[in-house]
Amino acid sequence: MKQSGYGFLLLLALMLPPVSNLLESIMITHMHMQMPMLVFAGFLMAKFFQKRFPQFFEKWNENGLPGILLFTIIMVYWSLPRTMDEALTMTSVEAFKFFSLPFLAGVPLRDSWRKLSSSWKHALIIFFTVLFLGMGWLYIWSPVQLCNNYLVIEQITLGWGFITTAFAMVVYLVYSYFMDFSKYE
């Protein structure tokens, strides 16, 4: 239960105006630090919800697919240039970010991940690899400035952040294809 507390503290810390302003002042830390940390906060808090409502997760997320679908939808949603921009200018969008990323992405991710078969896990990683390559391509080679609140140079930095993350996932995929992980368990 301790970790749920830490998750909650992390969420509160991220919500503090100085912290959120700092992370949101740079595009890449907004998308590749603040957002993943919000998901992670939810990931930690998931234990609390799983203990509190075991029936709910058992029944409605039995094979993990609904949860991972929800996770994917929320992640793709926050990859849109517009949502990231509007989180800075509209309070309601900002509030939805602080709610959706922990509770609609972090919590279902944790509940679903161990229920998924390894082929689903790989499919998900492949999906996000392709998505990140696409986003990287979009942000680096887009002729226009996609976000009004950030400089073009930050947009390009973010693009390379996406490509780097995609590269890391490719490394993992290749490695997991050739190595037998079950020997470690």
């Binding site: 039995e62 929800l70 939808i73 949603y77 240039p81 517009r82 200018t89 400035q145």
Partner: protein
């Protein structure tokens, strides 16, 4: 109730939620960037050009009402800009050249507004305009010296200007068309010269029916 295939049902609900979320978040799968949303909103609101004092390339000072009764074709720039602004102004001159001559100066005024009043004094603007074939009369370049007035205009027309650490500005660019009553009626893509010229000509030809 004894539901079966529960995970399929919850997947379906999640999917439905996703569709609704994206539908709302992108104004019906139309608007994926805040810039498009901004332009759409401007077209709906048709904001009034605020009463600001302009100082043009000849050092003349007047308020925007100087152009009352004419359409005004506007761009926003700063002269130290090495990237978008020259392109924007070249494109603006292309539009200028495509508008039938009889309208120029009489029914339509071209105006480039600098959002860097500190560096863009009348002399600088006068040198800059020559590079783009502006005559300084039917196409003027001007600055708004009062910082508050400048900001009110930028806010109202949705021009976002972010200074960076090297004395440059990041900013969004477009062609703006203000009608004879001083209301913004069109925001056009500055890269589509032909389209913008056609659209403006059409509005001019309809002879103010749209007023």
């Amino acid at each position: 109730m004894f539901p079966k295939n529960r995970t399929a049902l919850s997947s379906l609900l999640v999917l439905l939620f996703g569709v609704i979320l994206f539908y709302i978040g992108t104004d019906g799968f139309q608007v994926f960037t805040a810039e498009t949303a901004r332009v759409n909103q401007l077209m709906d609101e048709k904001p009034q050009f605020p009463d600001v004092t302009l100082e043009d390339n000849k050092g003349r000072k007047y308020s925007f009402s100087e152009f009352e009764g004419k359409y005004v074709f506007i761009t926003f720039l700063y002269t130290s800009c090495g990237t978008v602004c020259p392109e924007l102004e070249v494109n603006m001159s292309e539009v200028y050249n495509r508008i039938p001559k009889e309208y120029i100066g009489k029914d339509i005024q071209f105006l480039s507004i600098s959002f860097d009043p500190e560096r863009d004094d009348p002399e600088t603007l006068d040198t800059y305009r020559k590079a783009f074939g502006s005559d300084g009369e039917t196409w003027r370049m001007a600055r708004i010296t009062d910082q508050q007035e400048l900001q009110s205009l930028l806010d109202r027309f949705g021009v976002i200007v972010i200074p960076d650490e090297y004395g440059n500005f990041a900013h969004n660019s477009a062609f703006y068309l203000v009608n004879p009553e001083g209301r913004l009626i069109e925001v056009m893509d500055y890269t589509l010269i032909e389209d913008a010229a056609d659209q403006v000509t059409k509005i001019l030809q309809s002879g103010g029916d749209e007023r």
